[in-house]
């Protein structure tokens, strides 16, 4: 008991000494220089040159199987493999007004094989593989004193049958005490869908000579070169979020989007089979309005467990309603090494235009057998690993961050997939 009493008295004395030490004026400016430390005059900063702040490299391998391909009218193989690789370069500099400028330059490249793609031609002769490139640039200016930032970005995605050009404006403002932040983002995507029809449904006016079209660029037949028209698809989105620190262990964010799409919203090589046995191309309305709202809640429990949660409710005017719930528990084995098992549950109702193979009536106004619009539930679970030691991963100073993640995904439609991803962060 006496020891405890003396410890408390000792601790309070130390605290008092420290408090008094803070009251004394800082005399370091008057002292003669006897150490390496020199006070820095912050009033005479010059604009700082552009430097590479961070480089992120993300790569994934995705493998999927199922038996409800939209290309073959809701039946048939959905086997897909995809290798996706992306690089983002973050450049930072300070301008004359001492605002932080960040320029993020990204480039991505995907290569995929899709078994169903071969059946764009009735005989299965179309090419089953394809590539996609997607560069992006984003410029953000941040006034750290005011907690204000503003930015613009642009984005492109190109594959043989689909081109997308996007642009965005984003703005964020922190609260006075810097514990909350409001963000708004306006996005526009201007896409072109190449009208590649199933070989038996190609309108005569869209081709020159006899050709068999594919979804990835192989044009066969008698060597004729196809002249394939495109159709526009535009997407406009307004995204809003507000994040708030609740206490020293808990923070939340609320998010919501308003998304409207118009143009050609189906895909021309998706078949639909009617009850009378005849097939045609899927037909969907030319506009769609979506409202997703959600929140994140992260809680730091104890010294080494972090709960990361996410919930989203979604509704659109095609009749789909969906809920997504995600829980990830990050367990810190050390300050620089964590393991994160995760589980995600998703459920959706069917869009009013969906029906399985051979069940649409020929009199229907809109029809699709794409199981993306079916009623189903999905489960996604797996584990992530993160390494960020102060001396660099594997002792390599430039590699400051390594993340690995594996997940297994199943749908009640029978679709199943596996994805493994790696992220390397370089400084």
């Amino acid at each position: 008991m006496r020891k405890i009493f003396l410890s408390v008295v000792g601790f309070s004395l130390i605290c008092r000494m420290s408090a008094h030490a803070q009251i004394k004026p800082d005399t370091s400016f008057n002292k003669s220089k006897f150490s390496l430390y020199e006070p820095v005059d912050t009033s005479s900063y010059n604009a700082r040159a552009l430097r590479v702040d961070e480089i992120d490299f993300v790569s994934s391998y995705y493998n999927q199987n199922g038996n409800h391909s939209a290309v073959t009218g809701g039946i048939g193989t959905e086997k897909v493999t995809d290798i996706a690789t992306g690089l983002t370069l973050n450049l930072v500099w300070l301008n004359q007004a001492m605002n932080k400028n960040t320029l993020a330059i990204g480039f991505g490249f995907d290569y995929h094989t899709a078994a169903s793609q071969a059946f764009v031609s009735k005989t299965g002769a179309s090419s089953p593989d394809g590539t996609r490139i997607y560069p992006s640039v984003d410029w953000t200016v941040e006034n750290e004193k005011k907690g204000l930032s503003f930015g613009i970005g642009t984005y492109y995605s190109g594959e043989y049958n689909y081109q997308s050009l996007g642009a965005d404006l984003h703005f964020s403002q922190k609260t006075k005490d810097k514990s909350g932040e409001f963000t708004a983002k306006l996005q526009g995507y201007f896409d072109q869908v190449k009208l590649i029809y199933p070989s038996e449904l190609i309108p005569n006016s869209t081709t020159v000579g006899t050709v068999v079209t594919s979804a990835s660029g192989t044009v066969g037949g008698h060597g004729g070169k196809a002249s394939i028209p495109s159709s526009p698809r535009n997407t406009y989105a307004a995204s809003f979020s507000y994040s708030q620190m609740i206490n020293s262990r808990l923070q939340v964010a609320f998010m919501g989007d308003l998304v409207t799409q118009n143009g050609y919203l189906g895909l021309p090589f998706h078949r639909v089979y009617f009850t009378n046995g005849k097939d045609t191309v899927e037909r969907l309305p030319s506009s769609r309005f979506k409202i997703p709202v959600g929140f994140r809640l992260n809680y730091f429990a104890g010294d080494n467990i972090i709960f990361r949660t996410y919930y989203r409710y979604y509704a659109d005017n095609w009749g789909t309603k969906a809920s997504t719930a995600n829980l990830e528990i990050a367990y810190k084995l050390s300050p620089f090494f964590s393991l994160s098992p995760f589980y995600r549950f998703y459920t959706q109702t069917a869009a009013k235009y969906f029906a399985p193979y051979g069940t649409h009536a020929p009199t229907d106004q809109y029809y699709t057998s794409n199981y993306e619009y079916a009623q189903f539930q999905s489960n996604f679970y797996g584990i992530g690993l993160r390494l960020a030691p102060p001396k660099g991963v594997f002792g390599w100073q430039n590699l400051h961050d390594l993340e690995l993640r594996y997940g297994h995904y199943t749908q009640t439609t029978g679709l199943a997939s596996d994805v493994i991803s790696v992220n390397l962060g370089f400084k």
């Binding site: 995507y189 020293s248 730091f300």
Partner: protein
């Protein structure tokens, strides 16, 4: 749909009001500034989110892309 949106909004407001916010000093933010506490997707999740948005009808409200790209296959 409107009823459900109102319900979700009420839940969000209720959650926010359960614990009143406190003013935090910088040294009290050490846990909140931990890299695992970031209120956003992990960088390593980028491609997962892509395939989910292609296989499922719902997308958005996760600080990610809300359009662009085909996901045809």
């Amino acid at each position: 749909m409107i009823k459900q949106l109102i319900f979700v909004s009420c839940c969000c407001l209720l959650m926010a009001s359960i614990t009143s916010c406190v003013h935090l000093k910088e040294y009290q933010k050490s846990r909140l500034n931990d890299s695992e506490m970031i209120l956003a997707n992990r960088k390593v999740e980028k491609n997962e989110l892509n395939f989910q948005s292609y296989r499922e009808a719902a997308s958005g409200a996760n600080a990610g892309k809300t359009g662009g790209g085909c996901g045809c296959n």
